[in-house]
């Protein structure tokens, strides 16, 4: 028990890093995803093509590969810390999955909503912004909860470029104490706790913003 407690304390700083990486990645992914989904559903030929390519290519590449590309290739040109390049790579990857989530949500909004919005004089862009997107976000929440837990777990991948997050610290502890079960078990415990907490939180959000049709 004492060992577990010590391990908890040792891993704790990694928790903050994990949460920050996840939060940045999710926000970035959400912006990219919403934009790409709108381009895909409402955009012209070029916009559609861009959105399709992005989502196809990024989903076909393992996240670890994206992380390495961003860290080793892009940071040659731009000054990026391992933390930022890891977070951005994850955001880029999550954006592709969120594109698909938002696309489904946009397509589920009845046609009449757009027609009615145009009917009171809204432009297409305004109708998307004020009428379609707010509803699509609500529809997307259940799938987004799932995406949050996926990104939370994927954030462990940034340990490969040396970001001192939960996984990195667990690995370090495992090597120095020779107790891999304790180290990784504690890390697993943290991940479970975070996932549970976030799911409960978002379920509350889902309930609060639920709309019935």
């Amino acid at each position: 028990m004492q060992a577990f407690y010590t391990m908890l304390q040792f891993l704790l700083p990694g928790l903050g890093v994990t949460i920050s990486v996840t939060a940045i990645a999710l926000c970035m992914g959400c912006c990219i995803g919403a934009l790409m989904a709108v381009m895909r559903v409402y955009g012209g030929l070029v916009a559609k093509a861009i959105a399709v390519c992005y989502s196809m290519v990024v989903r076909a590449v393992p996240v670890v590969v994206l992380i390495f590309i961003l860290f080793f290739v892009i940071s040659e040109f731009v000054d990026l810390s391992p933390f930022m390049s890891g977070a951005i790579a994850l955001g880029f990857a999550s954006g592709a999955y969120q594109t698909e989530i938002f696309r489904g949500a946009l397509l589920s909004i009845p046609q009449g909503q757009m027609v009615a919005a145009r009917g009171i004089g809204m432009s297409r862009a305004k109708a998307i912004r004020c009428i379609i997107l707010p509803q699509a976000f609500r529809v997307a929440i259940p799938s987004l909860i799932n995406e949050v837990s996926l990104v939370l777990k994927d954030s462990s991948l940034v340990f490969v470029i040396g970001v001192p997050e939960l996984m990195r610290r667990a690995q370090y502890a495992s090597a120095s104490t020779m107790e891999p079960l304790l180290a990784f078990g504690t890390a697993a415990f943290f991940y479970i706790m975070m996932t549970l907490f976030v799911s409960k939180l978002l379920e509350a959000v889902e309930k609060r913003f639920a709309i019935s049709f």
Binding site: V115, G119, I120, M122, K126, Q135
Partner: protein, 249 residues
């Protein structure tokens, strides 16, 4: 004869090779109530959607208060703002309250400050008898109530003409009355309206003019008494006898 609010000139609309509307022309004078009748699929709804440019006419011209709105370069959003549209399926914004449904256009399109918009929205909701439900969401309303909110939403934009696309067709029979009553009240207040409807009793009572459409064109038009009692066209007679079996025409 006062200047027409709306003038439709040789309106045609086709989808691909299928002509849905051919050569429809008529004027609408201020405060006039026109009810458009005809069998399903004769282009009545398409015509309404062409009038406020939700559908782009294939040819023909439409004038709103002497200004051609079908001319190239006309701001279509601005045109639609000036015409209220009420839909068969209500199409209320599901994520907004009743009040939000009415204010959003005023705030986001007309740029009225939120507080003023709220006051005006409450007035419009009062007009349709829905003010007490202003905090509810569309899903909590009955069909008739939804449609009354739909009407209030359109009224909030201060339209020059109201277009009704079968406003009671999706309603249970016992709910049509409350919607028709609101429309009758608007007519009495002098609102200019074009109504596509199957409510013949309402047409007879409220319309200034009835237009009978068949195969995408105007077969016959006239004052309700004439259309319903002594239709000139054989087709009109046939249509009326089918939808009002037993009644002598």
């Amino acid at each position: 004869m006062p200047l027409p609010v709306l003038r439709i000139e040789k309106l045609c609309k086709s989808f691909g090779n299928t002509a849905v509307i051919t050569d429809v022309s008529f004027d609408v004078i201020p405060s006039e109530v026109i009810v458009v009748i005809g069998s399903s699929g004769t282009g009545k709804s398409t015509m309404l959607q062409c009038i406020n440019l939700l559908l782009r006419p294939t040819s023909g011209r439409i004038f709103l208060e002497e200004k051609e709105i079908t001319a190239p370069g006309v701001n279509q959003d601005n045109v639609r703002r000036q015409m209220g549209m009420v839909f068969q399926e209500f199409n209320l914004f599901n994520h907004l309250t009743v009040l939000g449904n009415v204010t959003i256009g005023m705030v986001k399109v007309s740029g009225i400050p939120a507080k003023q918009a709220k006051e005006k929205a409450l007035q419009e909701l009062e007009r349709v008898g829905m003010a007490e439900h202003c905090e509810k969401y569309p899903a909590q309303l009955s069909g008739g109530q939804k449609q009354r909110v739909g009407i209030a939403r359109a009224l909030g934009m201060d339209p020059k003409v109201m277009l009704f696309d079968e406003p009671t067709s999706a309603l249970d029979p016992e709910l049509t009355g409350e919607v028709l009553a609101v429309m009758q009240k608007l007519a009495a207040e002098g609102m200019t309206m074009i109504i596509v409807s199957h409510e013949m009793g309402f047409a007879r009572e409220v319309a200034d003019r009835v237009i009978f459409m068949e195969n995408g064109t105007i077969e016959e038009q006239g004052i309700p008494d004439q259309i319903f009692s002594t239709p000139r066209s054989e087709r009109t007679r046939k249509f009326l006898s089918v939808i009002r079996p037993g009644k002598s025409v």
